[in-house]
Structures are given as C-alpha cells and as structure tokens.
Amino acid sequence: MLKCLMMKRKLYDYLDDSLTRADKLKAQRHLEGCSGCKERLSQLKAVLNRAHSKNVPNPGEEFWHDFKTGLDKKLNDKLVSPLALRPRPSFSLKPAFAYAAVAIFFIAVFGSLYKSNLPAAFRLAQNDDELVEETIELDELEGQAALNHNEDAYLEEIDLLFEIEQA
C-alpha cells in the first residue's frame, strides 16, 4: 500500500519522463505487478494525450490583419488620451537606496552639528562646568526628584561640588 502511495506521486513524473533512471526502473517493476497503479497510469496518460492533441485554431491572414488594425487603434487611443500611456520610466530601487543613504548621511552630519548648538538645558552635560550646573539645578528641585540609573552619577557630582568648594 505504501508502495502504491509512493507510485501514485511518481506517475506524473513517469509519464513526463522526468524520473531518474533508478526511480524509473523501480516504477516499471512496481507497475508490472500492480494492476491498480497500471490502470491509474493509463487513465492519466489518456487525459494528457487528449490535452496535448487539442488544436489551437489557426485563424488565417485576415484575422491577423484585423488583430493588427485593432491593436494599432487601441494603442493610438491610449497614447493620445490626456492620460497618455507612453512607455513609463521604470522605478529602480538601487538609485532610490543610494539617494536614501546619502540623505541619511547628510541628516546625520547636520544633526550632529545642530546638536552641538542646542542649549545646554536640552542635552546631556558635555563637560565639567555643565555637569556642575546640572547638579545644582537638580538640588534646587522641590519635592523628590526621581533619580534613576544616574543616581550614582548624581552622588559623584555632589562629591565633586564639595571638592570644588573646598579647593
């Protein structure tokens, strides 16, 4: 039964002559001894043979002349319409990626330059003076200022203040 199931899956390839030589020999041996698979094979063969023998009509010169005339008319109608469908330039991703990369580069460059000109209140302290100033501001906050992961840094800044005062 398992062999018949495997054979069923190979029937199409067997008829299409796309099995390997070894598989083809196995299939032939199985078919010699299995009437069910043999019948299934001949049924499939009949279907495919009939499909292959289906003729596409050959319409003749007059048909192709009409076809060409109709095609020219339809194409001219489209090309002269307000929304003229001339061959459209294709959109290629490669130049788009290149432009995007250049734009990102310039944004990063200008962004870093712009960042350095921001008022100190809008960015992290960049030097000792600013750090001290920030610390003082933190001390002057009413209530409990929520110190987060920078709590250790804050304490270090307090120590620094004492040292500066005592210096």
């Binding site: 899956r9 009949a46 279907v47 499909a51 292959h52 289906k54 076809f67 095609l71 194409l75 061959p87």
Partner: protein, 199 residues
C-alpha cells in the same frame, strides 16, 4: 541564424520599443503573437475573446516595456502578461463553469461559440470521444486557478516546466505539484470516459 544573434536581435528590438519606436513594437508582436494567441485561446476558449486578450496584453507590454529587465527572458515576461490579461478577462466575464467550444460552421469569419449537436449518424465511440473532449474542457475549467494555468501551459501550450515557473513566478517544484494535482483531479473526474479511451 544562431541563438546568440537571435537573442541580440531581440534585445535590440526591445531597446527600440523602450525608445517608443512603433515599428520595432510591431515586429516584436509578430514574433510572439501566435504563441500568445495559443495561451489566450486555451484559457478563454474562443477566438474572438482570445484576440481581445492578446491585444490587451500587447498594449500592456508596450506601456510597461521599461519595466522589463534584460537579464530575464522576454517570452516568459510576455506570457505572464497574457496569462494575467486572460485571468482578468475571465474574472470579468464570471465564467466559472462555462465551457465554450469552437465549432466550424463553414464560414471562416464567423465561428459559432456554442456547440451544435451533431445529429448525423456516427459510431458510439466517436460520440463518446467528443463528449470526452468536452468533459475534459469542463474539468480543466473547474480546476483551481494555479492547477488550470499550469496544466494549460504545459499540456496545451507545450511550455517547459521551468518556463512555466518563470511565467507564473514560482518554483519548478511548485509547478510540478500543481500539475500532479491537476492530473489526478482530471483522472478522477473523467473516470467513465477513460474506459472508452482505453484507460
């Protein structure tokens, strides 16, 4: 003419079409119209509709030619357009289970779109063969979209599996699975007729 020179001629034609040259477009259409017509006919089932589908595909080919990349095969790119146009056509017409069979009425310009019963005497086997062909058409129409496409392109248009995979933008293994399932579904559906066919 060698294969290489044929390919380079075609590439030159494609470049001309990209420049908007209509004469080169006409040549390109003439090169692929028969094959494209065969695909359209096998999908929509009659000559007039196949003509409309092929015209639509050629227009789309012209408009989108700049989207064609030279490293791909033009034939598979164009066949994909034909397939998509045919599917759009079928969707619009809502012909889910309808089969149109061309019958030669004697007038080459006008082909009947409905099957005319043949009342003349004929052997039973011949009659059954005609019914078998019609049932096969109905069976193919009833397949799922991908099974039908793969089956029609492979067995009615003789495209290679790799070509079908490129046309439908899937892997060759996927095409094989669809072909296997289509064959199995048709075999089951056409059981009674297959005994007459020698199945």
């Amino acid at each position: 003419m060698s294969f290489a020179s044929t390919v380079s001629d075609e590439s030159a034609l494609i470049e001309d079409v990209k420049s908007g040259r209509r004469a080169s477009f006409d040549i390109l259409v003439a090169l692929y119209q028969h094959k494209g017509f065969g695909i359209a006919y096998n999908l929509v089932g009659n000559i007039e509709d196949a003509k409309d589908v092929l015209q639509e595909a050629c227009i789309k080919m012209y408009v989108n030619i700049n989207g064609f990349e030279a490293r791909a095969r033009f034939s598979t790119w164009f066949y994909r357009i034909v397939v998509n146009c045919a599917l759009d056509f079928l969707r619009k017409r809502k012909r889910a289970n309808k089969v149109w069979v061309e019958v030669d009425s004697g007038d080459e310009d006008k082909k009947a779109s409905l099957e005319v019963p043949d009342v003349s005497f004929e052997p039973a086997r011949l009659r059954l063969e005609k019914e078998f062909t019609q049932k096969l058409e109905e069976g193919v129409s009833a397949l799922s979209k991908m099974q039908r496409l793969c089956f029609v392109l492979r067995h009615e248009n003789n495209l290679a599996i790799r070509e079908i995979a490129q046309t439908l933008k899937c892997r060759p293994a996927t095409v094989k699975v669809h072909l296997f399932r289509a064959g199995e579904n048709l075999r089951k559906r056409l059981g009674p007729y297959l005994q007459v066919e020698g199945g």
